[in-house]
């Protein structure tokens, strides 16, 4: 097994070189310049080697052409103790309006927010990606992805039994985002249609639609109102632990399926918000979720004056419903209201919320969040 690791490591280290080819030389007869030819160069390679009785070797690197219209990122981790060999290798090509890429990966991934384990699974896969960038605010993405996944840790609070399997999926997504944090103004929205079909031993066939729409209204220089509406539905046979799992503030479960991607390398932020309820409380194949938040900048006096520190206060109301096999999971829709503080720390928002469910039997809860929750 270790020799396999060594062979794989060597092969992956050499892979970047395959993308690096000599630039043909051309010179115009009259012009003193020549046309630009992209060629990959190393930007940085960060190696880390650690030994605590077992050997860990980590290599993170990035190559790009001078105009960064070709990019290659790679991440390699050999872990002698668990015999995991993890890698991520992404190659992207940018053209006018279009970006295309291929992504190879094999790595442990936590399906859940960064502050609470949900399911740890090993994901191995390949994805082909394309994006058409209509404007800076709108884009359309297309993803075709094969992935093999095998769970190896499940949190006791996680509501579903994780499955082991493989999937061949696709997704088309339209994204609009003209939100300005400083102006507290704009819309962030996406509509995603995706699914999976059986092919060469992959085991799932389903169709999924998911939407996310958030609107920010500045009421004055300090106060803004934010409205969010999310919903989704899955028809067919899907990995149950990748369905819609709602409760608390979390990010990965819904979009994990929606994006059909490995989540491990992506920045983890909260994507679904139903405060007043515990993490992973509701699990199903359909959901609807709405949030209303009134946000006040307590310090400084204007978002434009934000530097290293800022403080925001919020009052919010969350409500939603989750369905499984067309049956609502609770007779009265879960809903809660509450107050919170958000600390702006050098560009990162850290939120602490106190939520009180409307259900008289439920206890109030504290929640922590990172970034823009919605």
């Amino acid at each position: 097994m270790k020799s396999l690791h060594r062979r794989l490591s060597a092969a992956l280290l050499l892979l970047p070189l395959l993308f690096s080819c000599a630039a043909p030389v051309w010179a115009g007869e009259e012009e003193p310049w020549e046309p630009y030819r992209p060629r990959l160069e190393v930007e940085y390679i960060l190696p880390v080697i650690y030994y605590d009785g077992s050997l860990y070797a980590l290599l993170y690197g990035r190559m790009s052409s001078i105009l960064r219209d070709r990019e290659l990122q790679f991440f390699l981790l050999a872990d002698e103790r668990t015999e995991f060999f993890s890698y991520v290798l992404g190659y992207t090509r940018h053209r006018y309006k279009w970006s295309t890429g291929i992504n190879l990966y094999s790595m442990p991934v936590n399906i859940g927010p960064v502050w609470a384990s949900g399911v740890w699974e090993k994901q191995t896969g390949v994805s082909l990606l394309a994006a058409y960038r209509r404007t800076n605010e709108t884009r359309y993405t297309l993803r075709l992805q094969w992935e093999k996944f095998s769970p190896y840790y499940v949190a006791s609070s996680f509501p579903e039994d994780p499955e082991e399997g493989s999937i061949l999926g696709w997704e088309v997504k339209a994204i609009k985002d003209d939100f300005s944090f400083l102006a507290q103004k704009g819309t962030r929205a996406y509509l995603s249609v995706g699914g999976a079909f059986p092919f060469l031993n992959t085991g799932y066939r389903y169709l999924k639609i998911e939407e996310d729409w958030r609107r920010y209204y500045p009421l004055n220089r300090r106060i803004s109102a934010i409205f969010s509406l999310r919903g989704g539905k899955i028809w067919g046979d899907y990995p149950s632990h990748r369905g819609f799992i709602i409760g608390g503030i979390q990010q990965a479960n819904m979009s994990g399926l929606g994006n059909l991607t490995n989540q491990g390398t992506l920045w983890a932020l909260a994507d679904s918000t139903l405060r007043g309820y515990r993490l992973y409380q509701f699990s199903g194949d359909g959901f609807l979720l709405g949030n209303l938040e009134l946000r006040t900048l307590l310090y400084p006096s204007s978002y434009y004056d934000l530097r290293l520190f800022g403080l925001l206060g919020t009052v919010f109301f969350d409500a939603g419903q989750v369905w499984k096999d067309s049956q609502a999971l609770s007779t009265s829709p879960p809903a809660a209201w509450g107050v919170g503080l958000k600390f702006f720390l050098g560009g990162l928002l850290v939120g602490v919320d106190y939520a009180i469910p409307l259900d008289p039997g439920a206890k109030p809860r504290w929640h922590v969040s990172l970034g823009e929750v919605f």
Binding site: E31, P32, W33, E34, P35, Y36, E43, Y44, L46, Y56, L58, Y60, R62, S64, I66, L67, R68, D69, E71, Q73, R81, G90, Y91, T92, H94, Y96, K97, S99, G101, I102, P108, V114, S117, W120, S127, L129, A131, R133, R134, T135, N136, E137, T138, R139, T141, Y152, Y153, D177, D178, F179, A183, R188, G264, T265, L266, W267, A268, L269, Y304, E372
Partner: protein, 559 residues
């Protein structure tokens, strides 16, 4: 789950790296790390046909429309190399400096929309030096002088820091920002340095608000840059240029500690700071005893962040630029004490029609700089087609039928007359240096503009056929506005102290009008004898309305 710290390191490093080094690969496609992953992307406004101009030391990457600029950049870069490299040549005895790659962008928006820059869509620098990979991204500046300043600044970063690039990745001591940015400013020729660097520094000295060396470990904003430049300039004057390279090396070895300062300069950090402060106290004496403007006047427009370049717009209204509701400057209209935002397009220059009903402004919101025509009452904005590319400034003639437009088509600015259809009527200037800031005489027959002569900006008058130099003293003469009274009002000064003055266009006799200790910019004379000025104080620009002493009370309307 195995609780290995290494796995957590694995999970932490990747987002951190993705965040720190933007422009993701296929993993997330098109997003930059500094932006939200939700959606905002880089979508170039037009296809760019990239080319490269090479010599032994530099590779200049540029696209269509920048051919002449690229060639001029080559000469600036050679100048930069010759200014900077000799002082750091000792760093390159074993490994030579590889060719520096310079990526040119026509506009800020092109720069922001390029993957090459590695910056988010809201980035507002003039250039970025990525010294780890020897790449330099530079936005073509409005004038040749500005472009020269930015290029030399950024090339200084590459030459001085490139030998230490592995130390940035490998840890160890790091130089403070004041040295890194201060050297870049120090090697920039004085006439290409941002004029208000010294204005801010002088103000801080007067207020006894000089930053400590601890505070200058991180540099951001004009005043910080000014202090960094001044400190490096002081060290170079007292200890020689060699000490800069030596300091840099020692910072990488020993870090920002007293030991480093004593070893190179023979001073403790505190002693260096005190010597520098004493030097500045001596340097900035002019105007120290003059009265403060806010002893006699209040800022005319309360609040509204940074305000500048006010001009009357008829019926008692005043137009000005402000960054009140964005990171960029936009047009605002003051009318009877109420203020209305006119644009959301990012305005760099503007002119008001003679009747005040329309404004023509310059914006690069579409990628390239264009002229836009705005109806003041309705806010309706339309593109004004222009036969010339890259307009930088514009001045509406008193009769309303012509525009004097400053354009930068070859790397430097020239002034042309165009009609309101954007067709060229006549070239006013065409020299290889910058000619800027045109202003019409009240009869519409002549123009006053600014051009450099022997290191100082001077006023020139164009009479329809030829130009003659109006001023000649060894100080700067900038931002002229031809008043209704026939005199030309302008900004006069040097070394961070700029005052409002007026000159007789026939005799060239200059009268200094502002008696204040503060720097006053962008004077606009009002018919009643008052003047609208942009006043720099304590890091902010505010508009003041004031009357020169001894010029009587003749009414206070803005019209």
């Amino acid at each position: 789950m195995r609780k290995s710290w290494f796995l957590w390191l694995f999970l932490i490093i990747l987002p951190a790296c993705n965040s720190s080094f933007p422009s993701h690969a296929a993993i997330e496609l098109t997003n930059t790390g500094a932006e939200y992953r939700f959606g905002q992307v880089k979508s170039p406004p037009r296809p760019l046909e990239w080319r490269v101009l090479k010599n032994a030391r530099f590779e200049i990457y540029f696209y269509q429309g920048l051919e002449e600029v690229a060639i001029r950049c080559q000469s600036i870069l050679e100048e930069a190399y010759n200014r900077v490299y000799p002082d750091f040549a000792g760093f390159f005895t074993i490994n030579r400096l590889p060719p520096v790659r310079v990526i040119l962008f026509a506009s800020r928006r092109d720069f922001q929309n390029a993957e090459a820059t590695g910056t988010p869509l809201t980035a507002t620098p003039e250039g970025v030096a990525q010294f780890l990979v020897g790449r330099l991204s530079v936005i073509c500046q409005p004038t040749f002088r500005d472009l020269r300043g930015v290029l030399i600044h950024e090339v200084t970063h590459i030459i001085s820091l490139h030998p230490f690039r592995n130390r940035f990745l490998g840890g160890g001591g790091q130089p403070p920002d004041w040295l890194v940015e201060g050297m870049a400013e120090y090697y920039t020729p004085a006439d290409s340095r941002f004029p208000m660097r010294e204005g801010a520094l002088r103000d801080a000295v007067f207020r006894e608000q000089l930053a400590t060396l601890d505070q200058l470990r991180s540099v951001g904003g004009n005043l910080d840059y000014a202090q960094a430049w001044s400190l490096v300039d002081f060290i170079a004057r007292k200890h020689g240029n060699w000490s800069l390279a030596e300091l840099l090396k020692e910072f990488f070895i020993n870090g920002d500690r007293d030991l480093t300062y004593r070893k190179v300069l023979g001073l403790s950090r505190q002693e260096l700071w005190e010597a520098w402060r004493a030097d500045l106290e001596e340097r900035y004496q002019a105007g120290r005893e003059a009265p403060r403007i806010d002893d006699q006047h209040e800022p005319w427009i309360p609040g509204h962040g940074q305000q500048m370049q006010a001009a009357p717009a008829g019926e008692g209204r005043v137009v000005f630029l402000s960054s009140h509701e964005s990171r960029y400057l936009d047009l605002y209209l003051w009318e009877n004490g109420k203020i209305r935002r006119l644009t959301e397009e990012t305005v760099s220059a503007y002119t008001v029609s003679p009747d005040g009903g329309e404004i023509i402004f310059v914006s690069d919101v579409e990628g390239e700089r264009f002229l836009y025509r705005l109806e003041t009452a309705t806010g309706k904005t339309t593109l004004l087609p222009l036969a010339l590319s890259n307009p930088v400034e514009v001045a509406w003639s008193p009769a309303g039928d012509r525009l004097a437009v400053t354009v930068n088509t070859r790397g430097d600015t020239d002034i042309y007359l165009v009609n309101l259809k954007g067709e060229v009527l006549q070239a006013v200037t065409g020299g290889p240096a910058d000619e800027t800031s045109p202003s019409w005489s009240p009869d519409g027959e002549r123009l006053v503009y600014v051009a450099e002569q022997a290191g100082f900006d001077q006023l020139y008058i164009w009479d329809g056929k030829k130009s003659r130099r109006l001023t000649g003293a060894g100080t700067h003469h900038r931002e002229p506005v031809w008043g209704e009274d026939g005199r030309i009002y302008f900004t006069l000064g040097d070394k961070g102290y700029y005052r409002t003055a007026a000159v007789d266009p026939e005799e060239g006799k200059i009268e200094v009008l502002s008696p204040f200790r503060e720097t006053l910019l962008h004077p606009y004379p009002l018919p009643g004898g008052e003047i609208l000025s942009t006043v720099y104080q304590n890091g902010t620009y505010k508009i003041y309305r004031w009357r020169p002493p001894g010029h009587g009370e003749k009414g206070v309307t803005a019209e």
